[in-house]
Subunit: 399 residues, 4 copies
């Protein structure tokens, strides 16, 4: 690219957008899959999978070859200096989000960062400031709450927005996993507060809270919460180590609309593998969802005659459903990984249109504030914490 007008502005799209991705573990694999396939299903701006960045030169080179990236690199800073890179997709661990994202935005790269936005509220705030400044220069950013792109949840949001469930009274949101159910399962960086920030709270409650905000288009005013670690010591490489993050978390959230949401998340819910369960109860109807059956949406229309009311299983696989016209004929279900394909599609489309994609960092920050309030309440024996809404906050709003 030769025609950059000024530092920190996006490049002119006279050539395919160049994409760099940082990180090649679980999320890197999932995002790569999305980049590799998005253009085979959706009309998106032309782009190239330029470079995959990781610390181990050999491993990152192998991953790049396997996942469809033209090159690999070990220094993310040098990648940010490249003129042929327009987009940076950050799949590195949470403690690196702020540093990389802010640098990338300042370098004029559009940024997609995995959720949660950051490990701490301070980092999230700094990132949001950087994103706001960059946005003014036409540099876009987005936080990767990929479950907004589950077609069934996008449909749920449509139904709620169209008043099909009426005024929402309460929401039940749970995210249940069991990969720590075995008390002998070993210590990892994910169980250390230094590296992970928090446990189930940041990892999966963040998704549950984001869904509440996304589905209802609402914001949180008060929080009461609790955290608990059932297994406090786990085998480490050199003997027993202390687990310093939560295994499970509970909260009730007061929403600005007057609705109340309960949140319950766990990594020790034996038998629940990846079950994000959402229930939205309104005056006119109800929405049910479970991520383990992500192609289905439960819906009850309470305005129908009582005689024929019932929870309906909508197989969200019709061309009329969000994102689905790109895929297969009806009834041919899609997998979890395509939440990322849809995310990349929406991210690229927004960049192509010169618009700000959603969820913005502000929305990631809103989730982060709730997470912090849960921690604060938990430390205060569940006493209710008021959330001060930042003045001029970008309202929580989805695609």
């Amino acid at each position: 690219m030769t025609s950059r007008e000024s530092p920190g502005t996006p490049s002119v799209a006279s050539r395919p957008l160049g994409v760099a991705m940082i990180g090649y573990a679980f999320m890197g694999k999932a995002h790569s899959n999305a980049w590799r396939n998005v253009a085979s299903f959706f009309d998106v701006p032309v782009f190239e999978q330029k470079v995959l960045v990781g610390r181990d030169a050999g491993q990152v080179a192998a991953a790049a070859a396997k996942y469809g990236w033209a090159e690999s690199a070990t220094d993310w800073r040098s990648v940010l200096e490249r003129d042929d890179i327009d987009i940076v997709d950050i799949c590195a661990p949470g403690w690196l989000h702020a540093e990389i994202a802010i640098a990338a935005l300042e370098a004029g790269k559009h940024v997609l960062v995995e959720k949660p936005l950051a490990n701490t509220l301070a980092e999230a705030e700094a990132m949001t400031d950087a994103a706001k400044a960059a946005r003014a220069r036409g540099v876009q950013s987005m936080v990767g709450f990929n479950y907004r792109r589950v077609p069934a949840l996008a449909l749920a949001r449509q139904l709620i927005a169209e008043d099909r469930v009426g005024a929402v009274r309460h929401v039940r949101a749970a995210y249940l996993q069991d990969w720590l159910a075995d008390a002998e399962s070993p210590m990892t960086w994910r169980l250390n507060k230094e590296t992970a920030g928090s446990g189930a709270l940041g990892d999966i409650a963040s998704h549950a809270i984001d869904q509440v905000l996304f589905l209802l288009g609402d914001s949180v005013t008060e929080v009461s919460g609790r955290l608990h670690t059932f297994t406090t010591v786990r085998p480490g490489q050199h003997g027993p180590e202390a687990v310093t993050v939560d295994d499970a978390a509970w909260a009730t959230l007061s929403l600005a609309s007057g609705a109340i949401a309960s949140i319950e998340v766990s990594r020790v819910a034996t038998g629940q593998k990846n079950s994000l369960k959402l229930e939205v109860y309104g005056e006119k109807g109800t929405i049910l969802f479970d991520l383990e059956n992500l192609n289905e949406l439960g819906f009850l229309d309470a305005t129908a005659p009582v005689r024929e009311q019932g929870f309906r299983r909508i197989l969200v696989n019709e061309p009329d459903h969000p994102y689905l016209d790109a895929w297969w004929p009806q009834g041919h279900i899609i997998g979890w990984e395509h939440t990322f394909t849809h995310e990349i599609r929406d991210f690229l489309s927004a960049i192509g249109a010169g618009e700000a994609p959603s969820p913005a960092f502000e929305e990631g920050l809103a989730v982060q504030r709730v997470l912090a309030a849960v921690e604060e309440s938990a430390a205060a024996k569940s006493a209710t914490i008021q959330l001060v809404q930042p003045t001029g906050a970008t309202p929580t709003k989805g695609a």
Copy 2:
């Protein structure tokens, strides 16, 4: 009663109707439960549980005391002679149905007979002739296809009759049990053609076929069928004995409307306990049902916008649903046994109103003709059998 006007006419209802029941095994227990409770929930003509009849004097006396019958007796013929008996409920084994029912009808007693109507077509025809003659004298009769009184199935029939599923194209009916899955399960009279007539065919395919006719209000024109016995020898009291009835049966039925029904029944469907599954596919919608969840009806309305179509689980427990206003508040499910409570209620109500209850013996005979055709086809290597509809047949019609 002193004022009987002529032999074989029903008694004048100047006193509670006197009820006699014959048989006190499984069906006797279930019917007794219905007689004991029906008046506590429904407004029915006043009656008394007069006498329970069985072969073993001691056992029948104990059963009478336990199940709420005032007296017991061992000779059903003597009971038919009693003036204080107005109703005879026949729960004896199938091979006794014809003899008792015809005698009772000739004695002017209203008759309820368990399904299937009889063990043979000839018996069923004789019973139907007797019922027709008795009906002309005001003596009523009914065959106990109790599943017509499952509220969910009564609702299904309403929805179909109201054209909510449109023209029906095909029906899938299965009745799966597993009480013979163990090849070492012993020989019983139910596995002997002499005593049982047939196996799964008469016992449970009869229910499945009756439901097809009941739900659609249709009749059968052609049958192709198959029977099979997986375990042909079972341990008897004095060594191995031959099983002479079917373990499972399959059939396709052509219906007068142009619809096609498949029937599949089994007593060796491991893990299926009492699963009568019904699926009715029409131009406008679909009905699903499973007896193991008998308080629920599945319904899909294909006239709804595609985006929100889906199978709906109607919890058939609302006051608006058939029979349910008599029971508990919504969501408090009822048990299998109340299919009989509803049956007795409808039977008594019809008698009180001087009307013919449904299903009439003609309807039992219609099922019997299909069963016979399945046997005939099975013996002819599944070749299709035409059913001749009797001229002037009472159309198959439900409550």
Copy 3:
């Protein structure tokens, strides 16, 4: 009865036990059904349905006739004076429980009282004192947490007691109904704190909490809770009236074992009719239950090879299952009402054996203490409340 030895001791069982029931509304109808049928299915001490008590002479007489009671009466005090009454079943509203129960116990009558034990903690304590004193004289008492007698939940308790789920980590208990979802649904005594004590909390959270204690055999040490009324004014007979009880309640309970339970109950969960949902997550397995499918128990055995692990739907309808040998062959499901039949059976059996039935009033009081703590915490913005366990408390233990 002529031979009463001393005031306040139970009568000698030289004749059938005489039963009086107070109240003939929803619970009166349900209990009557149980009394009318229990002896037809179970071997219990001989008893007679002597007298039904209610305020309106005409209505109670009609109810007595319909539900199988020999007589009716309008003054419960006079009934307590009758020597032929041995058992008093209290189905009157909660504000009458304490007065009637204490008087009955003092009169030497065995007492069954509907749940929750009382409207206030003070009443519950007084009742428990009375029960303790009476028990010493051989006079028994029981509180009617009927869901302990759902066969599936009795099985769940067995499996947990047999260590099949291992050490329990957390429990999710919800009781969701929707009969108040319509904001125009009228005011009733149940929505007035004076008469009802509380709303969803006392009515249905009491069941959820009792199940946690019953299933785990555990006790509560700390509570954080919240109450909310979504519709604060409803149409009364003479214009709008204030709703003074909760529509919904949330709580987290710390248990003595170290487990944590979440409780969520609602009367405005649109589409949920009577859904008591229980999930028990242990180190070795998991239990799932939903009252709308009360014949089923979900069970996951995490000690099985991973390849074949999964939630299992046990159709709790086998002779091997609790209470089920009395009923029908496998797969013939029973209804909600038989939770009471089983309750009466266990109550009568204990009386016959001269033993104290469970749940004792102490167990009802334990639930009441939790309810009170939820209210206290809710009033203190969800701050955690410590529960002081009474010294010498009867441990929470089930049948």
Copy 4:
């Protein structure tokens, strides 16, 4: 490639395998997706997506660009002449299968052909002869019954092979769709016997029958069947046109083992989108499956104590499950399209190992014989047809 030894033998693998695909409609899109992604998840021989073949030059060029093919072409014969093409994947309509496949095999190309193998039995036999001859020269071939690669069904086959369900007694196989439920849905080549061969029979009963053979490792000895067209005239481009294929089909199959399978397929089963339902009932257990929830397998182990038996929902998403170690962490479900990814993986692995992949054309022919027998029986009013097993037949056997 320079070193071809003789005509009709496979090329030496001194360079990446060159792949050509013929057809770019639904199946072409699905197969392309598999080729594009297989190497990102599985270790397979190195290959290149060389050329996509279609009739319309412009459209096929666009499809090639979109789906990851280096070039496009319009003449499949010329592609067969290319030395750099080693593999031909035939996704063209059924009437072209025989001609292309035989030519490709004769040209020494490994061939994957979509199911069903052919439109007629004669074509299928010729193809099988060609495949057998080619196999002797080291040229491999496979028919694309992709559902063999659903992980849940691969697991089902394992469990059956390990005797976990015991001797199988009966199988219920249904494949229900509804894309023709609307009687006004227009005429297409798929509804014309000339072009499509048959309707639901060849299209979806072929899958159901293949699964019976695959899961049980069994063969068919006798068939009784029925075909029906519910909507016989549909709107064509120039007015009404006759539908000359079946909308639905029914059959019972006798298997060599003594088991009996029922088959029922439909394109007018309103509300059923893509529901291949399989139920395998054995002496020791049962398997259940539904393609609309393809990440789940139902399993009942009848050797467990009765008290705890129940249908188990295995979420087939563990590393221990077939194909799953390549994908995401547990509980992150995969989509329908990866049945093809697994198919291509197994096909490539077999080629790399110089082994014959399964299902071989012989297995496709076995299905075809059953389809032909269903048609023959249907034409003979469901009379039973004997199947002669070809001498020296390759036994039906899976991966």
